[in-house]
Symmetry: C2
Subunit: 185 residues, 2 copies
């Protein structure tokens, strides 16, 4: 008997072959992505989610996705920022950066909207650095440790000022400009 | 104009409303999951991926998914073990655990196979602890820092012995037993 395993990891394939050979099962590599949905680009994630949701909910449905990409950590936590916040949290991220000089990071937000069955994606980014310790009480998530370029305060200290300069402000302002032109309301 | 944003995060919704109000756009919360695919359970991830792949590749297609759940880190890195390995790596995981007494962790593997258009999932787990430093040259991924219960060696030190006791061995042995019974070959 032969099975085809969808993996790009040859170590796994070798182990699986070894485990199944006593059963007389042959293992073949299937050249296919395990899932179509594991992406590190929030624009791709938002687009795919919107394509799926629009089929059920129709026009003017919007999906938002945000990632935090820390240079010194090879982009971690990236699109998994929410999961990482729920598990190791801000404390864990600061621990990973303890003793690290280069604290540069980028917040990226994608807003995907469906209009007449077509998905349009708007993105916005904020470049900045990760603070040494949390500061401020506004905002949410990583706001207490993100200091945008040109500022000395964190997003959490900036309060509503954040909504003028943030990644989310840039993505949704682009969406707002486009909608108001497109629909001339 | 009104748009519906698919998010469960009320902070985001508030920000988006604030950003779009100058454009005369009203924001409503859409009670829907942003994506159908963000799960922390590898059995669910493998099942969904198999359902999608089987439509294209037919019977005897197998999807494997593995997660590493560290108790003291609220389950991190969980199903994102591969992404975390590529970014912060073993070094990052050890840094997160530096000074942490409780080093217990669980490796879980899920193998999903499609037979006649139906997906069956087999899972296997290994309980163990995270080593203080990497040891051994066998295996791959987190094997140099995972010491299974009842052993003092890491998976990377155990070599092929790993394939008798690992999470992957347990999941794929269950698959092999089932296939050999079901198809009486």
């Amino acid at each position: 008997m032969k099975i085809r395993v969808a993996t790009t990891n040859l170590h796994k394939l070798e182990e699986i072959s070894h485990i199944l050979s006593p059963f007389g099962i042959e293992v073949e590599k299937l050249e296919a992505e395990k899932t179509e949905v594991q992406h590190e680009d929030v624009a791709v994630i938002a687009r795919k989610a919107a394509e799926s949701l629009c089929r059920h909910y129709g026009d003017f449905t919007v999906v938002e996705d945000t990632g935090l990409y820390i240079d010194a950590l090879s982009g971690f936590p990236g699109p998994y920022a929410e999961y990482v916040y729920r598990t190791i949290g801000i404390e864990g991220v600061l621990k990973l950066l303890s003793g690290v000089e280069d604290r540069r990071a980028t917040f990226t937000c994608a807003a995907a909207i469906c209009i007449s069955g077509v998905v349009k994606v708007f993105t916005g980014s904020s470049r900045g650095v990760i603070a040494e310790r949390p500061r401020g009480t506004g905002g949410f998530g990583y706001d207490p440790i993100f200091i945008p370029e040109g500022y000395t305060s964190t997003f959490a200290e900036l309060g509503v000022e954040k909504n003028k300069i943030s990644h989310r402000a840039r993505a949704f302002t682009a969406l707002g400009v486009w909608l108001s032109k497109e629909f001339k309301y």
